[in-house]
């Protein structure tokens, strides 16, 4: 695997929380255009890793490079603007806004969201109607177009997960970090979500996702990374990883 093909490159990443080593000397490369899964027992440091990539946590040590940009000192909004979108384990959305407004929020760029552009009604109307069309397309992609006017908080849990995927896609980000995309979701919605995930590489997106549902990982991941106690213990295809003896040990321990 050459350097050029990696969208994100992490070297020696370390993070402590009050003496507890959450992530320790982690090296990880994520290749372009693939779906990579991160699995591992609870407390392996998977979500901490996501927080560090997206700027919500500062690492103690190590480097994170995304398409040549150093992310370690980037604020979360800058990371997002560089082209990394993420979902959260505890499902964050704007529940008091409609589905369409949630996706529009994700679609919009900073130019039309400034104070002064608020006063240019004609310009905004043009920009917004173009964006609305795009936003509706993303809602269609995840099959939520019929609910576009309802409040996000009125959706079922599974639909909210679909909406947060639509928001990530609408940002135009090249790299999507999904934290447990199918956890707590009904089997039918899980199938739908996995089907959409599998399509993302053909839309030019790279996916890195954390998941405990191993059936889901097996069916959709091109590559699997196994973490335990803050480090990577195995990496490769599902078959390679599931055959590794240290992976079994980590899960049984």
């Amino acid at each position: 695997m050459t350097l050029k093909q990696d969208i994100i490159e992490i070297r020696g990443l370390t993070k402590h929380f009050d003496g507890v080593l959450a992530v320790s000397e982690l090296d990880l490369s994520v290749p372009y255009g693939l779906v990579t899964a991160i699995i591992g027992p609870n407390g392996a440091g998977k979500t901490t890793l996501f927080h560090m990539i997206t700027g919500f946590l500062r690492p103690d040590k190590g480097s994170i490079h995304f398409k040549g940009n150093d992310l370690v000192h980037c604020a979360p909004y800058r990371v997002a603007r560089l082209g990394i979108a993420r979902t959260f384990q505890d499902l964050r959305l704007i529940r008091q806004m409609t589905l369409l407004d949630n996706v529009l929020l994700a679609t919009s760029t900073s130019e039309c969201e400034g104070l002064l552009s608020s006063l240019r009604r004609g310009y905004l109307w043009r920009v917004e109607s173009a964006k609305r069309k795009k936003a509706v397309e993303w809602l269609e992609f995840v099959g939520l177009q019929d609910n576009s006017g309802s409040l996000a908080g009125e959706l079922s849990y599974g639909q909210q997960k679909l909406l947060s995927l639509a928001c990530c896609l609408a940002t135009g980000a090249e790299l999507l970090l999904l934290d447990e995309p199918v956890a707590g979701v009904s089997p039918t919605t899980t199938e739908r979500l996995l089907e959409y995930l599998a399509q993302l590489p053909s839309l030019g997106r790279t996916v890195l996702f954390i998941e405990h549902n191993l059936d889901a990982v097996r069916s959709v991941a091109d590559r699997v990374v196994v973490m335990d106690e803050g480090t990577k213990i195995a990496e490769g295809s599902w078959d390679e990883v599931s055959a590794a003896s240290n992976v079994l040990e980590a899960y049984l321990a």
Partner: protein, 293 residues
């Protein structure tokens, strides 16, 4: 009749201040209790520019708005580093400092004695010295400010504010520079409050620190909450209701000394009742009890 006009003028002035506060508290979810401080700074700047430098109303009001907006910008940067309850405490501190300066910087503000003889607005030789003319002036400003704020909140800018109010972390993950929005909205609200303050000073022609205390801040917040946080038109209803309410007390025959105290009790009781039974206010969309950091 003049009495009714007087009430309507005050409604317009407090409407401007409260709509501005709604941007901060209602739309962005930042409960500030320093708003009367900005209202007061605006009033003092307009009064002093008029009294000491002879500036006309039309120049001193934009100056006051710009200066107070910059002040809002400056104080928002440290105060926005804290969240929720701590933010309320920081704005309370700012309010106390502002009242302290107005009361004690006697060389400039004349302290508790206040400033009197503030010039009234003049336009092409026409003096706004009657209730009717001042009513027209105030409501022209009020409508302009309402339209300005409506434009802000219906634009994508307003969508970002609401997103910040509901879930800052999500807003950041979607690429929004949360600090920028908070600072900008705080400065704009301070500038608009200064316009209201300038109108107030030029209307009553006498100001002293008692008009700009924390109780006034809470009164403005009560207008926003009663009318409905996050709804511009709710603030119109709130301003009308809360400015008229104490006046209604006069007609039930309470002596004015009692009525003044009853006023504070009523505002307090109204806030408690609203929080318990209708936290969204009369027309609002935002429930202060359901935020998420």
């Amino acid at each position: 009749m003049e009495y009714v006009l007087h009430i309507l003028i005050l409604m317009g002035i407090y409407l401007i201040a409260a709509v501005a506060l709604n941007l901060v508290a209602g739309y962005t979810g930042l409960l500030s209790i320093a708003h009367a401080a900005f209202f007061g700074v605006g009033a003092y700047v307009v009064a002093l520019l008029g009294l000491k430098l002879g500036y006309p109303f039309w120049i001193s009001v934009p100056c006051a708005a710009a200066l107070t907006g910059l002040l809002g910008l400056a104080v928002s940067i440290p105060s926005l580093r804290v969240h929720d309850d701590y933010f309320i405490l920081v704005t309370f501190g700012l309010q106390v400092i502002a009242t302290g300066v107005m009361t004690n910087w006697i060389a400039v503000t004349n302290g508790p004695m206040g400033l009197s003889g503030i010039p009234q607005p003049v336009l092409f030789g026409f003096v706004f010295d009657t209730h009717w003319s001042y009513l027209a002036l105030t409501w022209t400003f009020a409508i302009a400010v309402l339209l300005f704020c409506r434009n802000l909140v219906t634009a994508p800018f307003g969508r970002v504010l609401r997103a910040i109010r509901e879930d800052e972390v999500f807003a950041q993950a979607m690429g929004k520079n949360v600090i920028y929005y908070k600072v900008i909205v705080f400065a704009v609200a301070a500038g608009l409050a200064a316009i209201a303050g300038g109108l107030y000073a030029s209307y009553v022609t006498f100001i002293d620190p008692t008009s700009f205390t924390v109780q006034e801040s809470i009164f403005m917040l009560a207008i926003v909450i009663v009318g409905g946080a996050g709804n511009i038109w709710g603030t119109v209803v709130g301003a009308a209701a809360l400015v008229a309410l104490p006046e209604a007390l006069r007609f039930v025959g309470l002596p004015s000394a009692v009525a003044a105290n009853t006023r504070q009790i009523m505002y307090g009781a109204l806030l408690v009742l609203m929080m318990l039974f209708r936290p969204r206010g009369l027309l609002g969309e935002f429930d202060f009890r359901n935020t998420r950091g």
